[in-house]
Every structure is written in C-alpha cells, then in structure tokens.
C-alpha cells in the first residue's frame, strides 16, 4: 500500500512538472540563440538574458524544429536570411563583422608560422565542418590563398568554432582556423597567426527577432542593445569589426 501511495505521489509530481514548464512568461528576459563565437561578448552586453550558444547551423535547425527562441544571432547571413525567407524570423540586420586567423598551441610543436607550414608531415589540423559558418569560411580563405590542399591535413571537423579552439588550446591539434575574436579568452594557450587581408572571407553576423518570440518585448530590446552604441563598443572591444 505504501508503495502504491509512493507511485501516486510520483505521478502527481510529474503531472505538476508538465503544467509548470508551459506556463512561464514570468521572467521578461530574452532567450538568445547565438553563434559560439559570441559566447564571451553577448553576456557582457546583456548579463540577464538566457543564452544558447552553438554552431549557427545547429541553432537554425533548432528554431526550425520549434525551439522557443526569442533572438537568433548567427555568424553568417545564410541562416537568419533563410529563417526570414521561411517566415520564421523578422528581417535580419548586420551587427558585426569578423575575420579569420590561424591559431597554434603556445608550445607550437609542429613549428607552424604560416599557412604554408600546414603542409608539413604529420601536422594535425582541425577545422569547422562543412555547413558550419567557420567551416565554410575556412574553405573560402584556403581557396582564396590557393591552399585548398592543406585540407588533407585535417584530422577533425568540428561542429562549432569552440570545438576547434578547444582542441588547439589543449595542444591536441597543431593548428586550427578560428575567428580572431575567439583568441582573446585563450590568449595564454594559443598564438594567433594573421592571414593575408586579400584572402579573407567576408564574415558578417546577422541578428533577427524570431517570429512568435515568447518574450517579444525583451527580444526587441536585446536587438536594440546589440545595435546600439554601447553594444557596438563592447563588440569592438572584443575584436569584432563594425557592420
């Protein structure tokens, strides 16, 4: 009998949970789905918002599958524009630009000083996967440099830029292509090597309010904050370029 009572309590508790999650518009904080490369700077702009950082492509998929996002900030125009075209988001706006660098672990075991050195024997290169913005930009840059053959040195294709940063910072990979803004948080572990300006990919970040955003007002306020002078100053301080 006691066991049955316990089961009942459990059922009721579960039912209670189900009711609870559906209800809340109590906190008027925006839920922001943002590209991994914004992990450090966005909480500086608005510490109160709820963040979900991942590869822009994954975030777009999550929003398409109905995740309750208020704002979508991507490291590429491709995904916000696509959501806009599908009627899932308001018109996206450019809020920042970025550029790519090559990073190597501080001990630099493979002795890499330029993209050409990546061709060395046994060099372990980590890049973003195809379809992930950093992965696509990396391929563009290498193509611009006529160095697409270094893709043969790739040992892992990561699902977002933080995966690339992590494996290089750990010293497990010899080199990786990341955004210049990813370097600062791990500056004591990696060395950044600048790439020729002419070879750079056009990295533009776009932000949009998601259609039917659960926290509509907070969403618009967040976007205004990012586009406003204070938000832009913080983005600039983090190394992002102006829109």
């Amino acid at each position: 009998m006691r066991r049955a009572a316990f089961g009942l309590v459990l059922l009721i508790a579960l039912a209670g949970c189900g009711g609870g999650t559906g209800g809340g518009d109590s906190n008027q904080q925006a839920t922001v789905f943002a590209a991994s490369s914004l992990t450090e700077v966005f909480p500086q702009i608005d510490p109160g918002a709820t963040y979900n950082f991942a590869g822009s492509d994954d975030l777009a998929t999550q929003i398409q599958q109905g995740s309750p996002a208020d704002v979508f900030a991507a490291a590429s125009p491709k995904y916000p524009d696509q959501l806009y075209a599908d009627g899932l988001a308001d018109k996206p706006e450019v809020f920042a630009t970025n550029r790519l660098v090559l990073i190597v672990p501080k001990p630099n075991p493979a002795g890499i000083k330029s993209v050409d050195d990546l061709r060395g024997k046994d060099v372990k290169l980590v890049i973003g996967a195809e379809g992930v913005p950093i992965g696509d930009y990396t391929r563009t840059v290498l193509e611009n440099m006529g160095a697409s053959d270094v893709l043969d040195q790739v040992v892992s294709q990561e699902d977002d830029v933080k995966g690339v940063v992590g494996k290089v910072a750990l010293g497990e990979a010899d080199a990786g292509f990341v955004y210049v803004t990813d370097v600062k948080p791990v500056a004591d572990k990696v060395t950044a090597i600048e790439l020729p300006a002419a070879a750079q990919a056009e990295v533009t970040y776009k932000i949009a309010v998601v259609k039917d955003a659960p926290h509509h007002h907070a969403a618009h306020a967040f976007v205004e904050q990012v586009l406003g002078s204070e938000g832009q100053a913080k983005l600039a301080a983090a190394g992002f370029g102006p829109p």
Binding site: D58, A60, D122, G131, K167, E172
Partner: protein, 274 residues
C-alpha cells in the same frame, strides 16, 4: 479499491510504453522506407558504417580477449580488494561520456599523463582512428566484464570442483568446463557490450574528433548530418534501431540456445541438476 489501482498501473505502463516507442516509430514514419534505404547508400553513411564496423570489431576483440580472463579471475578467486576491483570496473558505467572523453585526453592526450611516453615512441593517439577504438573500449569493456563476472559466478562451483578432482588442470577446467557453461551469459554480455560500443558518442567526439571516413562513426555521422541532410541522419538512426533490435533479440533468444549447448557440451550438468 482494487480495480482503480489496476487501472492506474495499466495507465502508467501504457504511458511509459508510448513515450518510449513513439519516438522510435516516428523515425521510420518520417520518410518512406525506400528513401530510407537509398539514404543509407550515400557516401557519408557508407563511410560511417565502415568506420563503425572496423573500430567496433577491433575494440570488441580486445574487450573479449582481456575481459573474459579478467572476469573469470574476479568470479572464481576470492582475493583481498575484490569488491574494490569490481566497483572500479563499474565506475566507467556510470561516468558521463563527456567525462570519459576528457579523462582519455588527460591520460593519452599529447600533453596527458602518458602522452609524453607515447610521443617518445612516435605514437599519437588523440584525433585518430585508434582514439575511437580507445573510447569504445573504455565505455564497453565495463559492460562486458561486469556481466561476464555474473555469468562465471552462476556456473555451479561443484562442476568446477568435479573437473578438478577428475584431474583437469586449471587451464583445461577454464576452457572445457567454465567457458562452455558460461557461454550463454558471456554471449549476452558480449552482445550488450558491442551495442554500447557501437552507440558510443560523447567520448569519441571529444577524444577522436569527427572526420568522415576516419573517425566519424555512425552516431557521429548522425550528429554531423543533422543540419546538412536530415534524411541521411534519419536513415542512419533507423539503421541503428534495427541493429539494436537485432542485438536485443539475440540476447533474448540466447537462454534457450544455452540450455541446449549446456547439455550437449557438458553431460555432467544433467546428472547434477537431476
């Protein structure tokens, strides 16, 4: 009082069954079966299949070769610290996969505990196919060893004793008596451990990375294809469901097969149980 309670039980059972089955069924219903099959022949799917089969088979061979004698030792010898050894073997079972991944880095990474030593021999494990095998062994061997210990423990000690008094050495006793008698349990353990290894994700994506045709196993391919080609991800998922069902059926069907081999391989068992 009794009837409403029965209804409640039935309701709970029905709810949990539906919750478990609907997602699995939905996997098959989302796209037509024909498309599902054709997606499986895509390059990414085939590459992942080859990587998964290769790494799983190698890892499983290691698990069986080392795990079986280890389990026999733990099951049949009563030494100091035996309980501790068993608990340590069980630890990776409850360890979150991400912890396994970071732990493998800490041990075998280039800057890890054994990394320097391995480096001296020109061996680098992280982000290679070997790393996949390491990750699979790390998560699947505890499964096998734990279940194999139980399998050996369930062998009647009187039979082992009888074999010894009849003059069989310890090696002969192991191969001719203990191993055949535990075969059913060992096979079930083997099948479950193989399935666990095949589904390994967290430790692999951290320690081995994800590269098509090299380290991208089936679960990693599902993750990678999620935003590239959802249909391929679905097809791979459906395929792994079929494999899992096959493993489960094997395990379920094993006991009857065991009884059969038990009688034919070890006639003494008949006398003992009568």
């Amino acid at each position: 009082m009794r009837r409403p309670f029965e209804v409640l039980l039935g309701l709970a059972a029905g709810l949990i069954l539906a919750f478990l089955l609907v997602p699995v069924l939905a996997l098959f219903l989302r796209i037509p079966p024909g498309d599902l099959l054709s997606q499986l022949t895509s390059k990414a799917a085939v590459d992942a299949l080859i990587v998964s089969v290769k790494t799983s088979v190698i890892a499983h061979a290691v698990v069986l070769l080392l795990g079986t004698p280890a389990a026999y030792l733990i099951a049949t010898r009563h030494f100091r610290g035996r309980a501790l050894v068993l608990t340590l073997i069980e630890l990776p079972l409850v360890l979150p996969p991400a912890v396994a991944g970071i732990a493998l880095f800490a041990a075998f990474g280039r800057t890890g505990l054994l990394g320097g030593t391995l480096d001296a021999f020109g061996i680098s494990i992280p982000l290679t196919q070997t790393a996949v095998v390491f990750a699979v062994i790390f998560v699947s061997s505890p499964f096998y060893v734990r279940l194999a210990v139980s399998a050996f423990e369930s062998v009647d000690p009187a039979l082992i004793e009888a074999a010894r008094t009849l003059g069989a050495g310890p090696r002969r006793t192991f191969f001719r008596v203990a191993l055949p008698l535990a075969a059913g349990g060992l096979s079930a353990a083997s099948a479950l451990a193989f399935a666990r290894g095949l589904g390994e994700f967290g430790a692999t994506i951290m320690f081995a990375g994800s590269l098509q045709g090299v380290t991208q196993t089936l679960p990693l391919a599902i993750y990678a294809q999620l935003d590239l080609d959802f249909d391929v991800a679905l097809a791979l998922g459906a395929f792994l469901v079929v494999v899992s069902v096959a493993v489960l059926l094997t395990v379920k069907l094993l006991p009857s097969w065991t009884r059969f081999t038990l009688i034919s391989l070890a006639p003494s068992a008949r006398f003992d149980s009568s």
